[in-house]
């Protein structure tokens, strides 16, 4: 009798300990979740406050009493935010598109074609992955300046279209495609190029999608190279645009308008993330850096 009571009590205790442990874990996760979300909440909140009410609040309010769209209007009319967005869009699309073509052709050559010095060349390619960008950016800056390509899209795009790491990633995937498919295509008289784009790429679609997503994120957020190569506002990308807005944007430190610009700039990638959540997270854990 005594024994049974003891086990019952022990079980009850264990359950209580587990509940407490769970509460602690969830509380911890929730606190960090709030820390992550708070800046986003604050920027959206502030972007809907009017200039007067924002500056009138000595202690900022956590809600907005009379939401206004004026800040968003100002963000597009007083500073060329639309222009920055368009530039970034063009830059991102063209860079990603050209890069996919360049790396696909290279990965195909490394995985399916045989030529003298292939393995040696591939080793050279791989060793280029270890070169930090800071070392090569200096000469690239001088090259682009000497070629009179400052403040042009070509100057922005050309140095960004080659990525050794993505060639490597794609080649690994291409190598997994069975040789038989290639021979079958050869027998049917399919050209290499057609085989590459009609057979290889569709089979390796997940990898290609991963690469595209990672490159789009990189392009949308790129700051250093555009800053070096553009000083004409007409060619600013969003990162430089927001920096420009911060330094001499709306005048009189119009924080709500600034926050509206921040919301507009952040939104495209957040929407992209919410749509392609799984692919992006899988892709980053496969090929992401940063951090």
């Amino acid at each position: 009798m005594d024994n049974r009571e003891q086990t019952l009590r022990a079980e009850k205790n264990a359950r209580a300990v587990k509940t407490v442990k769970n509460i602690v874990i969830y509380a911890f996760l929730a606190v960090w979740g709030l820390m992550v979300l708070f800046p986003f909440y604050w920027m959206v909140l502030t972007s809907f406050k009017s200039y007067a009410s924002y500056n009138g609040e000595k202690i900022p309010k956590f809600y907005v009493t009379d939401p206004t769209f004026d800040n968003f209007m100002n963000a597009f009319s007083q500073v060329p935010l639309g222009r920055y967005l368009l530039n970034t869009f063009v830059f991102t699309v063209v860079t990603t598109f050209v890069m996919v073509i360049v790396i696909t052709l290279a990965a195909f050559a490394f995985s399916r074609l045989e030529f003298k010095g292939r393995d040696l060349l591939f080793t050279v390619f791989l060793s280029m992955m270890m070169i930090p960008g800071e070392l090569i950016v200096i000469t690239n800056f001088v090259t682009i300046t000497n070629m009179d390509m400052r403040n042009t899209f070509s100057g922005l795009i050309l140095p960004s279209v080659m990525s050794v790491f993505y060639v490597y990633l794609l080649r690994e995937n291409f190598a997994q495609v069975p040789d038989q498919l290639y021979y079958a295509a050869k027998v049917d008289g399919t050209s290499d190029l057609k085989y590459l784009f009609r057979v290889m790429l569709p089979i390796c679609r997940p990898t290609v999608v991963t690469i595209i997503i990672l490159k789009v994120i990189e392009c949308w957020n790129s700051y250093v190279w555009p800053r070096l190569i553009t000083d004409d506002k007409n060619y600013f990308l969003v990162s430089n645009g927001i920096q420009e807005i911060r330094q001499n944007g709306f005048g009189r430190e119009n924080i709500p308008a600034m926050m509206a610009a921040v919301v507009v700039i952040s939104l495209p990638l957040i929407i992209l993330f919410l749509i392609f959540r799984r692919q992006i997270m899988a892709g980053v854990s496969r090929g992401g850096t940063k951090g």
């Binding site: 969830y26 911890f28 996760l29 979740g33 820390m35 992550v36 979300l37 800046p39 604050w42 920027m43 502030t46 500056n55 609040e57 900022p60 073509i101 360049v102 790396i103 052709l105 290279a106 195909f108 050559a109 074609l113 045989e114 030529f115 390619f125 280029m128 070169i131 930090p132 800071e134 070392l135 090569i136 200096i138 000469t139 690239n140 001088v142 279209v161 080659m162 050794v164 290639y182 290499d192 700051y223 800053r227 969003v238 990162s239 927001i242 920096q243 430190e253 926050m259 921040v262 700039i265 952040s266 990638l269 957040i270 993330f273 997270m281 980053v284 992401g288 850096t289 940063k290 951090g291």
Partner: protein
Amino acid sequence: MIEKNNLKAWLYLLPALIFMGIFMVYPLVDVFIYSFEEGYNFVSQTSYGTGFYNFSYVLHDTYFLQAVRNTFIMVIITVPISTGFALLISLALNSITKLRELFQTVYFLPYVTNTLAVGLVFMVLFKKTAYSDGLINLLINFFGGESVDFIDGPYWAKMFVMCFYIIWIVLPFKVLLLTSALASVNKTYYNAAKVDGTGSFRVFMKITLPMISPTIFYLVITGFIGAFKEYSDAVALFGTDLNAAGMNTIVGYVYDMLYGDSGGYPSFASAAAIVLFVIVLTITCINLLVSKKHVYYT
């Protein structure tokens, strides 16, 4: 056997080789040449000698020394804290089932945001202005503290915001990798430990930690490299004139030398970039040596 077709293969490789040659290989050689050319003039593209003057100039420049100091402080603070904290979060995530996806999604958000844009939000939260002390200062006041200007104020206040922001930015990547590493640990080990009645701390030290040590090690190496190249986050918080703010980083110094108000000196920039490269290489080698003893590969 796949047919040999040299010409065709080189044709496929041509675009990649051209871009790589012009924008990667040539610059890599060139940066070393620049760094040894003394008195290089950007306009006339001439120099009057070769030697170590650029390195000596950079290593004696107070701005550079300040940048090195700042960078090392950021690295020493952010790498251990962010890795440890990411491990804590991942362990917590791994022990729950409800709401796990939601938490994972939320935690990943900083990865897809524009550093410069969100940095502005952090600036607004921490900055003390004529109108308001900012939300963080109000919080400090609430707990009885004095207001501090985190953006234009004392050095350690600025360093605090800087490190906090860096950790906020780099955590998503680490949490993502660590949660998948934790999830892939074979469950039979845990079951065996359970049968033996092993305590949970011992299980963590003897099973979990060795099993995920390759991931931790990878994160430490990439964390060190990333933190040494810190730059954009500093601009996001303190503006482009980092020297004036006293918060410049080594990479920031390189770009300032190259372009900007004090720019036009590719030789100094090259020398500074090479110094950075040597530092990063040394640290990475040390990491590799240490890992040989402590990392467990299956």
